[in-house]
Amino acid sequence: MTTLDPVSVVADAAQSRPAPGPVRAPTETDLSLLLDVGSAWTKAALVGRAGGRWRIVSGTAQPTSWGESALVDDLVGRLSPHADARLSRRLALLVRDAPRITSRSARRPGRLVILADTQAGLDAATRLSQRHGWIVAAAVTSDDRRPEPERFEALRTAEPDAWLAVPGSEADPAARPMWGILAAARRTAGAPVLVVGPETVREPFASLFGMTTRWVGPALDGTVGDALLAILADVNGVPEVRLLAQVAFGRSMTALSRGIGLQILGVDLGATWLAWAPGGDPAHNALLAPGQDRALPDGSRTATEVLPADVDEFAMTDAMANLAANPTAIPSSPAELAIAHAMGIDRLAAARQAMGGVSSVDVVVGGGRLLAAAPHPADAALVLLDGLRPPGVTQLALDPWGICGPLGTLPGDEVDEGMETLRDDLLSPLGTAVVARGGRPGQLAFRARLHRTGWPESPRVDVRSGSVVVIPLERGGAGELEIELERGVQVGEPHKARRLRVNVTGGAVGVILDARDDPIQLPTRPGDARTVIQSWRDALRREGRQVSG
């Protein structure tokens, strides 16, 4: 039976290396292959049963363009040195023929044209569609004050995958010129028309637009979102919505939240798509398409302003453009890596703004190659912290093998079963983050002391505003953190108490005490900003502490 040291698996997962021995190959050959086929990278995890338990025995990630054969060869190559000699000749065949659970990223977003009676209707429809993997190619409202020729021109060259009609009233569409414009622009046998409005408009719209018209419901809600996802899957050749990687990721977060009884926010930061999945609130899952301009939170610095390296503007925009144009490319220098991470922080911050902020949750789970392949787990932690600024006390973890997506494709209750089955290997804990807001730069923000049963008393740690400090706490470790807040400083929801005691768990980084406020305040001079940013990186990478005098 295959045996693996679980701590080694987790510690190496972030480095995308296979687990070391000691390993004995299974004499039984129960294997499954979990595949997350992304737009740029495919992540594969080989799962084997040992001693009645399923564990990850090998994993890899490769550019999707390399194809399946190269992926299987790589898996076999990683497994071979540890495999029982009796299986070595059959190993390639076993891996190739292993049952597969596959999630697949959409190749492209859906293109939508929206016609709404009011600007408010259009805004709501736009937000809803953008959260379900669509881009709005064109839009018209009856109160946009544009003349009809202009409205028609806006629509006639659109080649949408669907039209979304949001009539605000029960008036017969045949009596409203705007819907005549839609009929003319759409032509016969065009893309489906989704109608959201009073049920009384159902028949008239069907009469006007024919068989491909579908009345979805009276309101712009989850029903419309489901309809959009179904069309998106169809456009991308994915047979079922749950097989879309980003939808599957959301399902797995919901299952995980149920399974461990904690509030979770999952973010899958892919090369092109970004999946947003508050596991405790699946109605607010989102699938954010690439290439959309999204606002950053007020006061945020853009990626170009938060680089630790001294990179000139041309080199920076070139590097960003190259990374965007070639998403399989691996950053090959510290500067390129810093740029890639800064872009990731930007994307998370913009998504956070678009989704109305990050509520206080128990766990943040980060997925996607940018995080999983980070050279140091502290780098991944910093991307999550800087992009999301999760308020209060939050455990941070990664999906290092990329298996949350494939597991999320399982039908019905099997998702819960799958997540539970691989619970030990599912996530790579980074530790616990305490994010404080308020305080004056350079002044003491709070003091903290970690209490661990059976351990000597640990020294108190002073955390100054604008700084980040790490208290070492290994994976599997747990303790109680005593926090003493200074005036004007809050951790989580505002409350009167100045002393808190919170439970914390350890991980690859430890307990991260973050007093950098939200939005993060940086010195105005670029050189000073770079120095400060580098100091944060060093603090997270180094298990250090500040001790009160």
């Binding site: 480095q15 190269a70 409203r176 144009a325 691996i330 220098s333 510290p334 980070a374």
Partner: protein
């Protein structure tokens, strides 16, 4: 030498466009593919009085439905021997009972949709016209501008040589000029000014490309008449050289007619020899080109592939390969950052 499989160039047709070609038609750049119309100011056509009907009764006697394109004098409604007809070619948008009028969008002839390419029409639908183009296609990574055509002129001898502005003069008007590594904003501006049709280089600064695209857009909004001009970067952003295999192929096809589809980031070279092909995941012994990271644009031979993942300069662990560059150096490169460069398709 003739191209291999023809390139299928698909032209989307806007609503109301009418194809002016049929399957089998030969087209040249500038030939009419479709007739188009544009809507003019909408008008309201009274219906109740001519028909002698109450407003609510007119809906039932309409003979056209909303969204229909009607011809001049086409009947819109009929009540016994009374009719209402369209005053001109138009889109029938709706009958508005509140006003007792039909809302029409009159149409007038607009500029024809013209071909960007030379070839033979192979498919005509109400939404697209597809042209089989006897050309080899190179896909780029960045570009801007409409379609432009002209003979290829190679201005440098080295795939790593930039486009020198002093080499650009009026003799190059109407041509597509090719350089190795990159083109400065000055070179782009000068080329446009002397009437060059377009520029093809290995790389461009992303900032320069964005600035130029913005300038083109502003000029189009102002209606400033200017000859079309396009820019295409084949391999990346920055100042890296062009893939030597591609550069050699372009040199071999100097003088051939070509078309840049700037906004689609493509170069079509007519009647050209088959172009070198890129493929992911080279094998040991393959020629390759570095497509990302340090050394981008340089070519060489893949000598060895690591058995285990190795850390690259950023600290990320990944499969790497030892590449013997044409320059003589041997470097370690992430395999994800290289592509096989195969001689022909």
């Amino acid at each position: 030498m003739p191209a291999t499989d023809p390139y299928r160039h698909q032209v989307p047709l806007p609503a109301l466009a009418e194809p002016a070609v049929a399957v089998g038609s030969e087209v040249q750049p500038g030939d009419e593919l479709a007739r188009t119309v544009r809507p003019t100011a909408a008008l309201s056509l009274p219906m109740t009085r001519p028909l002698r009907r109450k407003s609510a009764e007119v809906t039932a006697i309409l003979t056209v439905s909303p969204g229909t394109r009607v011809r001049a004098n086409q009947r819109l409604a009929r009540a016994g021997d009374r009719e209402v007809r369209a005053p001109s070619e138009a889109l029938f948008l709706a009958y508005e009972p509140g006003s007792g009028s039909a809302r029409l969008l009159p149409l007038e002839s607009a500029d024809a949709l013209r071909s960007d390419v030379r070839g033979i029409v192979m498919e005509v639908t109400d939404r697209t016209i597809t042209v089989a183009v006897p050309a080899v296609v190179l896909s780029g990574i960045g570009g801007t501008g409409p379609s432009v055509s002209g003979p290829l002129s190679i201005l440098v001898d080295d795939p790593e040589a930039p486009l020198d502005p002093t080499l650009i003069d009026a003799d190059l008007g109407g041509r597509i000029i090719v350089a190795g590594s990159w083109a400065s904003a000055e070179a782009i501006t000068r080329a446009r000014a002397v009437g060059v049709a377009g520029i093809v280089v290995g790389s461009l600064h992303a900032r320069d490309l964005a600035d130029f695209a913005g300038l083109q857009h502003r000029r189009s909004l102002l209606g400033t008449a200017a000859p079309p001009f396009a820019v295409l970067a084949l391999d990346g952003f920055g100042r890296a050289g062009m893939d030597p295999a591609r550069f050699a192929w372009l040199q071999a096809n100097a003088g051939q007619q070509a078309t840049i589809l700037g906004d689609r980031r493509r170069l079509l070279v007519y009647d050209a020899s088959p172009a070198p092909v890129r493929a992911p995941r080279p094998s040991v012994g393959d020629r390759l080109v570095i497509v990302a990271g340090p050394g981008r644009g340089q070519a060489g031979l893949l000598a060895e592939v690591s058995v285990q993942a190795m850390a690259v300069g950023s600290g990320i662990s990944t499969l790497c390969g030892m590449v013997r560059l044409d320059s003589g150096r041997t470097v370690s490169v992430a395999l994800a950052n290289v592509e096989a460069s195969l001689p022909t398709g």
